[in-house]
């Protein structure tokens, strides 16, 4: 028991040291207030300043991680944190299959694995509000949701097959300098389980007070933002130990000094 905790801490120290250079590939996102698709009671949320990874975590990044953290290797990962599909496109504990490009985004990872990776680098997963805040930008505008072309482009990606096989950095970067928020893979977020959708979408506009406790309505603010609808639907259908072919992640870091 004690040895477990010790070894975990040791692993974290080691990988933090090794992956120190990773903080170079981040951009600063200036916080602000905005209205996301599913907001709070007053619908406006505030996002603080933070740094976000320019690219999603790649296969080769994750291969490095499992080398240093045997706990997260395919054969060692425990059932509490992963299911049978975890790293299913890897040929062994340390390497992905030859057909998988090393600079493509890592997929088939669970939320617990993604969280552990980010924490190992002294970072964390972005919250839904942070992710959506950066994702609503296009190449020139910070809030491009009113532009019809913005929505159309994203919706057309949702129909393009096998985009997870592409390498990172091929979609144009947005005004913040972040790549691949759209057009590559879905991404884990820290509080994806704050999306209280039952899957019965015709009822989801009605606060189902039996299944979900909520004295405020959890309604969508913009019924025409279909791209966002689909992202929230995916989040609502996931459980933390699932992995998916089209689901990866990236990390963010608070700008204030780390504490706790």
């Amino acid at each position: 028991m004690k040895t477990k905790v010790f070894s975990l801490l040791l692993i974290c120290f080691v990988c933090q040291y090794l992956t120190y250079g990773q903080t170079e590939d981040m951009v600063l996102i200036e916080g602000s207030r905005y209205i996301p698709l599913y907001g709070r009671d007053s619908t406006v949320v505030e996002v603080n300043d933070f740094k976000m990874d320019k690219y999603p975590v790649t296969v080769e990044d994750f291969e490095l991680f499992v080398k240093e953290s045997p706990k997260w290797r395919k054969s060692n990962a425990i059932k509490l944190f992963t299911d049978k599909t975890y790293l299913s496109n890897w040929k062994n504990d340390l390497e992905s299959k030859d057909s998988v490009k090393s600079k493509s985004p890592i997929t088939y990872v669970s939320w617990f694995a993604a969280k552990a990776y980010c924490e190992c680098q002294n970072k964390r997963l972005p919250t839904v509000d942070e992710w959506e805040y950066v994702a609503m930008a296009d190449e020139t505008t910070k809030d491009a949701r009113i532009k019809p072309t913005y929505n159309e482009q994203i919706l057309s990606w949702y129909e393009a097959p096998r985009t997870n096989e592409n390498i990172i950095g091929e979609t144009p970067k947005n005004v913040w300098g972040v790549y691949d928020l759209h057009g590559l893979v879905w991404e884990w977020t820290l509080d994806f389980n704050s999306v209280l959708i039952t899957g019965e979408s015709r009822k989801d506009v009605d606060k189902d007070s039996n299944l979900f406790c909520g004295s405020a309505a959890v309604n969508a603010t913009d019924l025409m933002n279909y791209a966002a609808f689909m992202r929230y639907a995916i989040r609502g259908s996931l459980k933390a130990k699932y992995s998916m072919k089209n689901l990866g992640f990236r990390c963010v870091q608070d700008v204030k000094t780390e504490s706790e």
């Binding site: 028991m1 905790v5 975990l8 599913y38 709070r40 009671d41 007053s42 425990i78 059932k79 509490l80 944190f81 939320w111 617990f112 969280k115 964390r124 820290l190 509080d191 389980n193 704050s194 999306v195 209280l196 007070s209 039996n210 299944l211 979900f212 406790c213 909520g214 004295s215 405020a216 959890v218 609502g236 459980k239 933390a240 130990k241 706790e260």
Partner: protein, 238 residues
């Protein structure tokens, strides 16, 4: 007539043979018992057969198993005790989830300023507790975990416990870090979202874990028929 005699004697023999088999199995059960040196010369090491301790030469003592499946100290892959997060109880004690090992766990996630579902969830928990016979309660822990660690400090949780007459041994309230709470919720598949500083939306799920921390049953919704939950709990604490 002859035939009948032969058949009946064969039958009798069969019956005896079968009962003998069961005797044999009983014997093999005893063989599963473990033996340990009473002076613990070799620490927690135990032996399958009776004998003497190689260090102090004392006779090995047969150990009574504490509970049915606790021969080893190993935590299974599916157990929530794999989570390393730190928590505080309403008494202010710092624990890790593993400290709850050994008793059947009934867990619900709430927050104390909740006006809508939480009082009903708490009532549901109380309902379940009422249906467990008193002498079995010592094998149970009812844990209420707060999804609002900022407001629900251990002191506030203690006040809530007293207010709701849930201050007995079997009730535990847990306060954790935001990250620890989010992680725990994900293990239970509980969804929650902060709507305003004192208001949360969350799913209403009561979960039952066995003494090893493995999830055995979940009940979703308010005022739902808890027959299956009770059955599962009773089975686990036997």
């Amino acid at each position: 007539m002859k035939h009948i005699k032969i058949i009946s004697s064969v039958l009798v023999l069969l019956v005896l043979a079968i009962s003998c088999n069961s005797d044999k199995s009983k014997a093999s059960n005893d063989a599963l018992a473990v033996y340990q040196c009473p002076m613990l010369c070799e620490g927690a090491k135990f032996y399958d057969e009776a004998g003497s301790c190689p260090v102090c030469k004392m006779d090995l003592k047969q150990i009574e198993k504490a509970s049915k499946e606790m021969e080893t100290d190993e935590i299974s892959e599916e157990s929530i005790f794999n989570l390393m997060s730190k928590w505080h109880t309403e008494e202010g004690k710092e624990i890790q989830l593993e400290d709850l090992k050994g008793k059947t766990l009934v867990v619900v996630m709430i927050y104390t300023s909740c006006k809508a579902a939480c009082p009903r969830l708490v009532a549901d928990m109380r309902n379940i507790e009422a249906q467990i016979p008193d002498e079995k309660l010592k094998d149970l822990t009812f844990a209420l975990v707060s999804i609002d660690p900022e407001t629900d400090t251990p002191e506030r949780l203690k006040a809530f416990a007293i207010e709701n007459q849930m201050d007995d041994e079997q009730w535990t309230f847990l306060h954790g870090t935001e990250s620890g709470v989010r992680e725990f919720a994900n293990v239970l598949s509980v969804k929650y979202k902060e709507i305003s500083p004192i208001d949360f939306s969350h799913s209403n799920i009561i979960s039952v874990f066995n003494a090893k921390g493995e999830l055995k049953h979940q009940q979703e919704g308010l005022g739902v028929d808890n027959k299956e939950t009770i059955e599962t709990i009773l089975q686990l604490i036997q």
